[in-house]
């Protein structure tokens, strides 16, 4: 089922949680709502679920207005950050809950419920925990049970609010891959909220980046990473060196680094801010040749990459550079003079805020 939201606005007191948000979620896709905490992403999810109502705007399910449809009738599966499992019920009863509260006429028989619950528990690979209580489960297990419970009512949409936010790093990683595979199996329209860009990049078909109640950019993980639409997106997704300078005639000068800036073709220089990814800077030994002269300040090996900190003496600007790394050999030593060459950059006009 496709979901559309149109011109959503929501304020809490003086706080603008959502400011004119319009989005379309296609049938069967897995979308991440990504943004810093307090950006309104959870509010958006809760409005789609019907746990919150917008001040203005509309929510459409398959083209039909569902803005004020009660959460009970929306047919959404919602997974909470802190699981919200019913603590006094066994895992089995938790998963069965959505089926057992149905009006008698629509309620499946006892055997049918048991069969469906066990099928769902098998789907989340926790069939052996049916008789346990939530207190007796690990965080990762609880979240999988919460997902099975949400799926039991055969929702048209699956909404997940920071589903892995309360878990430790390794479990998170496992569950991410698992969620992706599960989605590929079920093909149910799914939206999940996260503040973790890595999680969004790894799991989602598309990412919606939200900042201060507004949509900053919508796109596939590749689009968002390779063509950030705003300084905010550039800063939020991946690491970036942020440099100020001036641009004119299609080129920008950022602390001595010269990078192409085709958007700035005018002749008089304009103040700009440029972003360069650490892996988009090359280092060349020696102090003669192309690029700008810098001094190596630190070298550290992080996994398969070599992180080199360099400083441009002129203007005293520090740069982070990331180089591919093979074997134990470090090509540069601390204190060595080298030359830095940017091979890709993104330049934005500077207006007070950035």
């Amino acid at each position: 089922m496709s979901i559309q939201v149109r011109d959503l606005r929501k304020t809490f007191g003086h706080f603008k949680a959502l400011d004119d948000v319009s989005l379309t979620f296609h049938s069967g896709e897995l979308v991440a709502l990504l943004g810093p905490s307090g950006c309104g992403k959870t509010t958006l999810l809760r409005i789609i679920a019907g746990l919150e109502y917008p001040d203005s705007g509309a929510v459409l399910f398959s083209g039909e207005d569902a803005t004020f449809t009660h959460v009970r009738e929306r047919g959404v599966g919602f997974v909470f950050q802190h699981y919200a499992l019913f603590r006094h019920m066994t895992v089995f009863d938790n998963v069965a809950f959505g089926l057992t509260v149905r009006p008698r006429k629509q309620r499946p028989s006892r055997e049918e419920i048991a069969k469906r619950v066990h099928r769902l528990l098998e789907l989340v690979q926790l069939d052996w925990l049916a008789d346990r209580y939530p207190d007796q489960l690990s965080g990762g297990q609880r979240q999988r049970i919460a997902l099975a419970r949400a799926l039991a009512v055969e929702p048209r949409v699956l909404l997940l609010d920071e589903p892995f936010g309360a878990l430790d790093a390794r479990v998170r990683k496992d569950l991410r891959g698992w969620l992706r595979r599960l989605h590929d199996e079920l093909h149910i329209t799914s939206i999940f909220v996260t503040h973790d860009q890595e999680e969004a990049m790894e799991v989602a078909d598309r990412i919606v980046l939200i900042n201060q109640g507004r949509v900053e950019q919508v796109g596939t993980p590749q689009e968002i990473y390779n063509a950030p639409a705003s300084p905010f997106v550039y800063g939020f997704i991946g690491d970036a060196n942020r440099l100020s300078g001036h641009a004119a005639g299609g080129w920008a000068e950022l602390a001595g680094l010269r990078v192409p800036a085709p958007e700035f073709g005018q002749s008089e220089p304009r103040p700009v801010t440029g972003y360069i990814r650490p892996h988009d800077i090359q280092l060349q030994a020696g102090d003669k040749g192309e690029g700008v002269a810098v001094r190596v300040e630190s070298v550290a090996q992080v996994g398969a990459a070599l992180r080199v900190g360099v400083r441009i003496p002129n203007g005293d600007t520090a740069l982070q550079v990331e180089l591919p790394h093979h074997g134990g050999h470090w090509p540069f030593q601390v204190g060595e003079p080298v030359r830095a060459l940017p091979c890709a950059a993104r330049v934005f006009a500077r207006d007070g805020a950035h």
């Binding site: 959460v71 009970r72 909470f80 809950f97 959505g98 207190d135 690990s138 419970r149 949400a150």
Partner: protein
């Protein structure tokens, strides 16, 4: 009192461990001795004396004092007052706690303060309020008289006064508990298609049941033992508007000490039963928690 009540609502397991914060042995001994001496003088000795006095004229006199028609009527009236006040306050308390913790609205703080009012106000004043409202010279007095309804110096007044003084117990017990639990379980139930009633009965109620029972026990103890407020509205009509505490006072004022203490011993027994029930609930609650914790620990090991 709130300290005692909140002990059940605090979550998490109590971890017993050796603490760095401790005192010299003599000081600990002294403090413990002081506490015990205080308890002895102010609680145990009076309690023992109550029973001693009650039995001072022997078994027969004791039983006679309890089975005497006026005493028997007082017992019945006390049971009626508690039997009405407790269920009413369970409903009020749950409704108040529910609305205060699950919804956002203006004037929430005012409502919380109002719930505490009966704790803050002297019970005598509580009684007087009802006399002023329902008494023959009160606001509604003439109208009530016209319609041949009596509230003050009758059973309804006693029930009203009891409801007033016991109002905070259930709500006060539930509010912190429900606040801490938040609304996500209820929200989960709603997304799964449960109605409001189903959510309350199957999700909210089971998760507050220990706190609720605890509140009921305290509420009941106070309802049966209330003196001040009931005294003002009852009129002390023997065999008609006397509750147990009032009956004790009457007997005492008539120098029937043995009988007075015999009836008082019933109230004391009630207190003991209340304490035992309360401890039992705490014990069960604790055990449930520990069981869950043990099971979790076992699972982690395996």
């Amino acid at each position: 009192m709130s300290g005692v009540m909140s002990s059940l609502s605090t979550p998490g397991n109590v971890v017993v461990s050796r603490r760095a914060v401790t005192e010299a042995a003599w000081l600990r001994g002294l403090l413990i001795a002081l506490a015990l001496a205080f308890l002895g003088v102010f609680l145990v000795v009076p309690l023992v004396l109550v029973f001693q006095e009650a039995f001072s004229k022997g078994w027969q006199a004791y039983l006679a004092a309890l089975t005497e028609p006026d005493a028997w009527h007082a017992v019945k009236l006390t049971l009626i007052a508690a039997g009405l006040a407790v269920p009413l306050n369970v409903v009020f308390g749950v409704a108040a706690a529910w609305s205060l913790t699950k919804f956002h609205f203006r004037g929430k703080q005012v409502l919380i303060t109002l719930i505490d009012l009966p704790f803050a106000v002297s019970p005598v004043i509580a009684g007087l309020i009802y006399v002023l409202v329902f008494g023959s010279r009160g606001w509604l007095g003439p109208w009530l008289e016209e319609h041949n309804l009596s509230i003050i110096y009758a059973v309804p007044g006693i029930v009203l006064a009891t409801v007033f003084v016991t109002f905070p117990f259930v709500a006060r017990e539930l509010i912190p508990l429900m606040q801490e639990q938040g609304v996500s379980q209820e929200e989960a139930a709603l997304t799964l298609g449960a109605s409001g009633w189903q959510t309350f009965r199957r999700v909210t109620l089971p998760s507050i049941k220990w706190g609720l029972l605890y509140g009921i026990i305290l509420c009941n103890a106070r309802a049966m033992g209330e003196f001040g407020a009931v005294s003002v509205v009852s009129g002390h009509i023997r065999g008609k508007t006397n509750t147990l505490p009032l009956h004790v006072e009457i007997l005492y004022n008539e120098y029937q000490f043995a009988a007075a203490f015999a009836v008082a011993s019933m109230l004391a027994l009630l207190a003991v039963v209340t304490l035992v029930a309360k401890s039992f609930l705490e014990f069960k609650h604790q055990r449930d928690r520990e069981r869950a914790a043990h099971a979790a620990a076992r699972q982690e090991v395996s």
